[in-house]
Structure formats: structure tokens, C-alpha cells
Amino acid sequence: MRVTLLACAVAFAIVAPLALASGFMLGETRAWERRTAPALALLMTTPKSVFLPVFILMFGIGFAEKIIFAVALAYFIVVPTGLAAAKSVPRGLIMVAQAAGATRRQIYMHIYVPAVAPLIVSGLRLALIFSIHGIIFAEMYASSEGIGRRILDWGEAFQMQPLLATVLLVLIATVAVNESMQLIEARARARLRLGGPA
Amino acid sequence: MSAQSTSQLIAVCNVSQIFGAPPEEFCALHDVSLTMEEGAFVCVVGPSGCGKSTLLQIMAGLMTATAGEVRIDGEKVAGPRPDKVGVVFQESLLLPWKTAVENIEFPLALCGVPASERRSRANALLELVRLIDFANRLPDELSGGMKQRVAIARALVRHPRVLLMDEPFAALDEQTRTRMWQELLDIHARTRATILFITHSLIEAVYLGDVVQVMAARPGRFIERIAIDLPRPRTIAMLGSERLGALRNRIWDAIAEPEASV
């Protein structure tokens, strides 16, 4: 169990900043966005899990490989959120702030941060959810340890009790995390409406 | 109330409208009465929140008055009467997935008019509002002024007895609005339509109407009726005339001190 949690944590730690940052940068530069848009759209709608076998062929299946797969899965889903975050920065406010003599740092702190906070939290939530999904699936498919593997084994052996108990546990835990993150997201959004610095 | 004369198209009789229940009840309209003759262009002007729109809703049959009644051609209004009443709102509310001509046909489609007849009637109205070249455009390809013209055409397609307009030009910029005034006056002259026009712009009310009913707020009530003696057809030049300015000032005074002019 620890293995799974660790894997999820690592995957999340990698993909969240990576995807959000690249999405954000894409959003800031109009030219890049236009050029990558069709490619991204294509990549997003394909079931990337189907590449897992190839992946395994290439690299075998171990801790690191699970992580890479989950990262690949979550990456394309979180990038659009980073993009949306970039677009949600109120350009008009920036102009006003610059005219009033605000420094770069001040602009980042007082305009960028509160503006992108809700979407960033949303992106973090999605990154977490899909990291978990990716890790569990990779474990189910080709691992010898971890929650995913156990669940699959129990199912095949018809050991319903441990199966249902664990499934329920995972589901409840995920819902709890998801809901708390949505609360944070809502709070960040509300702060935005009231204005003022973060 | 005076006896029904044959040219009296609409009669609003002592209409009151109360929202909510005591002790928090809100009186939107109090004892409002109005008569309109065929072919008249009546403007109702008043400050925001004075109940103008509520009055229009009641006249259109979209709302039932708490007290009093509305009669059209002597018949009491008890629900929407699209055959008698055409309505134009501030938002054109054209169905976004239908083209201009289809939007105009819509009321006819709702009551089962066959397709070919629908199309010819809709085209006739497109000619009237001078948009026949845009028949197959979608609303998002039309400007604000054009959309309102389509909305007017849609309101007229069933040849209603009266056209009720609720601040239809309020969302348009000044130049478009001035052009729309001319369009509407032109339509009025050509079709002899009976029009009730609600606005909060004093100049618009004076420029367009034969009669201006001034309304006060809280509770909504009529406080003055001013006959507009500007000659028809109205021209843009009149907008700068002294007579128009004087009439406008009269309305302004009435609104500023509602009790003084009752």
C-alpha cells in the first residue's frame, strides 16, 4: 500500500508543476498556442493507456516506469487547465497596475497569483486524480505489488471481502481529497470576486 | 370609465400589481389606466424600476394583474395573445440556431401555418424592415440593430393589433439607435400599427410618440399625459428643435417632482 501511495505522490509531484507550467506558458504566448493546438487536441482525445504495453516492452515495469506512465497520462489532461489559467489573468488590470508604477514582483503577487489560483487548484486536483488513476492502472496491468495489483488478484480469486473493503477505501479517500480540493478552489474563486491581494 | 368607442383599441382599466405577501408586499403598479386608439404611437417614460415593464407584461398577457383588467378590441386579456399582441424586448432574443427568416417564421410555425405561406409572409416582413438580403443569416452574423429589426418583423408577422416594445433600443449605440428611430417611424407610417413604446429616454419618447405617458415609481402610476404636437413625418432636424426641447423639459419636471404635477 505504501508503494502505491508513494508512487502517486511522486507522479503528482512531477506532473502537476510540469503540466501546469507548460500549459501556462503556452497560454501566455499566442504563437505557440496556435501551433500546438491541433497536436494537443489530437493527443488529448486518444486513449493513451493503449501505449502502456509498448511502454512496458520498451522499459519493463518497475517503480519508475509506473511513474512515467502516470505522468504521461495526466500531463495532457492538466495542460489545458494551465492554458486556461494563463488566459484568466486580467490583462486590463495589469495595464492599470503598470501605469500606477507597480514592480514586476508586485504585479505577480497581487494580480497573477489571485487570478490564477482557482484554476491552478483545479489543475492540481485533476493532476492528482489522473496520477492516481494512472498508477493504479499500471499496477493492475503489470505490477507485482501495490493496491492495484492486490485488487485485481482479489477479484480474480473471488475474495470479495478484502476486494470490496479496499475498493471502498480507495473510493472514499479519493472523494475526500477531491472534495477538499474543490473547497479550496471555491475559496480561491470567492477571494477573486472580493478582490484584494492573496 | 367612459363608454367603449369603436376606435379604442386597447383599454387598461385600473390595473394594480402587487408582488409578495404582507407584510413584505411590494406594490409595482397602482391603479393604472390607459387607452390607446388605432394607429396611435404611445410612449411610456419613467425612471428605472417604476413598473413600466410590469405594465407591458400584463398588457401582453404574460402576467395576470392583481386588480383591474386589460381589454383589446373589447376582449379581456387572460393569457398570451400572439394573434393580438406582438412584443419586442430589449434583447432581441432571436433563436440562435435559426436564420433570420426562420426566426420570423417561428410564431407562424408554432400555430401550424404551412411552410410556403410562412415563408412568403416572413419574406414580406423582411422587405418591410429592409433586411431581405440577410434572410439566411444567423443571428450571430447580424449587428445589434439588425437583430432588433428582425425581432420587430417577428413581432409583426401575425399582424397583431398592437405592438408592445420594452426599451427595444436601449442596448444599441447612439448612432444605431437614431437610425432605428427612423426605421420604426417608417414602419409605423407604412403599416398604421398601434404601438406602445416603453423607454427611459425622454428624448426618445418625445421624438417617437404622439402621446407620452409619464410614470412615477413606488408605486408605479401615471402622473402626466403629454400630447406631442410635433408634425409627422418626424425628421432628424427636429431633434435639435426648441419645441422638442421644451416638451422634454416638461417631462423632466414631471418626473423630478411627481406629486407636484398630479
Partner: protein
């Protein structure tokens, strides 16, 4: 046209890389290996394709019908939407994959388990999108239709449903993606047929050509599904947006 050129270039590059031994051919495969695999195991793949496509269609149908129906009920009033929306959005976040072994334990390893699991996965985003689509309807259109003389039935069918359609369609897109992913994943895990199964099977035998053939076929199905939804969106809704999910 340009896209076709790009595809050809990619294929050529792929073949070259394999031949030149720049990358281990066993792992990276090559177009020629794929063609060979198709010649050798063609029929097996065709029937697997059929099964996978069938499972996806069925699951999509269930998810759509169920999602729209429940969403319509949930969205009908403010009160019900306040209950349904948070519930659905909470359930969407779940890694439903953990439920798959449970479904298999109940219904066995055949297509039914895939259809149930994938149908469930697709159901939630569609239901949520339907609720939000219905809630977001501008009621002034309904009032306008009433003023124009529409009956209650006409208002609901001709105006309200049509207004909610774009939102429902975007939910359909997400739901369809999830159905496709779910079918593929479940076939890869516990199955005796279908494309996912074949891909896994050949992987364990190191038949690279077959593995890639299977992958290509899956991508084809995914593309077909997306194309269908895009066509629907073009006809009835807003332009297809970039921000949709696919795993």
C-alpha cells in the same frame, strides 16, 4: 492534405529508424512489421476490432441515454440540481478502474463487464453536463416563446432542449472519451478478446508488429468516435473545444 504528408513522413521516418538499427527493432517496431502482422493475423484482429467497437458502442449508448435522462431529471429544478451536481462532480473524480475487478467478479470476464464498467464511466460526465446545460438555459427565451404563443410542450422541446444541446454535446464528448479509455483499459486487464486483450497477448509474446497493429486499430476507433461527436457538434453546437479529456 498537409496532414497526410506529415503522416507519410512519420511512417517513413519510423521505418528508417528501425531498419538503420538506431533503435532496437524489437521494441520500436516498424511499419513493415505491422503490415506483416496484419497479413498473418488479420482475421483475429478484425474480429477483435468488431468486439471492441461493439462494446464501445453499447457502453456509449447506455452512458448517453442514462446520462441525459438522469441529467434532465436532475436539472429540472434548482433544488434537484443542487443535489445532483455536487454528487456527480464528486463521482467523476473517482478512479473507477478500481471498480472494474468488482464488476468482473459479478459478471465474469466477457463483454458485459466491459460494457457495464465503461457505461458507468461515461455516465457521470454526461449527466453532469446535462444538468449544467439545462440549468444554464436563459429563461427569457422561454418567456419569449410564451409571448409568441408556444404551448408548454413546444417551449420545452423546440426551445429549451435545443438551448441545452451544446452543453450536453460537450458532455458527450468527454463521456465518449471515457468510454473508449475504459473499454481499452478493461480489455487489457481481464479479458479473453477485444483489441486491448490482443495487444497485451502479443506483447507477452514480443510480437511487436501485432502490438502496434492493435494500437493503430484502437486509435482508429477513438478517431472515429471523436469524428462523430465533432460532426454532431458542428451541426448542433458550438465549435469543438480544445479542453476535453482523454486518457
Amino acid at each position: 492534405m498537409r496532414q497526410l504528408l506529415i503522416v507519410m513522413l512519420v511512417l517513413a521516418g519510423w521505418e528508417a529508424l528501425a531498419r538503420l538499427g538506431l533503435l532496437n527493432a524489437v521494441i520500436i517496431g516498424s511499419p513493415s512489421l505491422v503490415v506483416a502482422a496484419a497479413v498473418k493475423d488479420g482475421p483475429a484482429f478484425v474480429s477483435a476490432f468488431a468486439i471492441t467497437a461493439y462494446e464501445m458502442l453499447l457502453a456509449a449508448a447506455i452512458a448517453c441515454a442514462g446520462g441525459v435522462a438522469v441529467g434532465a431529471i436532475g436539472g429540472a429544478s434548482t433544488r434537484s440540481s443542487r443535489v445532483f451536481s455536487p454528487v456527480f462532480s464528486a463521482l467523476i473524480a473517482l478512479p473507477l478502474i478500481v471498480l472494474y475487478p468488482v464488476v468482473v467478479a459479478w459478471t465474469g470476464i466477457g463483454p458485459i463487464s466491459k460494457v457495464i464498467y465503461a457505461g458507468l464511466a461515461g455516465f457521470f460526465p454526461i449527466a453532469l453536463a446535462t444538468v449544467s446545460g439545462i440549468r444554464s438555459i436563459d429563461l427569457r427565451y422561454a418567456e419569449l416563446a410564451r409571448a409568441l404563443g408556444a404551448t408548454r410542450r413546444q417551449i420545452v422541446i423546440q426551445v429549451m432542449l435545443r438551448l441545452a444541446l451544446p452543453a450536453v454535446l460537450s458532455g458527450l464528448r468527454v463521456g465518449l472519451s471515457l468510454v473508449i479509455i475504459s473499454v481499452v483499459q478493461s480489455e487489457m486487464l481481464s479479458s479473453v478478446d477485444g483489441l486491448g486483450f490482443l495487444i497485451s497477448y502479443h506483447r507477452s509474446l514480443f510480437n511487436v508488429g501485432q502490438v502496434y497493429l492493435g494500437i493503430i486499430l484502437v486509435l482508429l476507433v477513438a478517431a472515429a468516435g471523436n469524428f462523430a461527436v465533432s460532426a454532431l457538434e458542428r451541426r448542433f453546437g458550438r465549435r469543438p473545444s480544445l479542453l476535453q479529456a482523454g486518457a
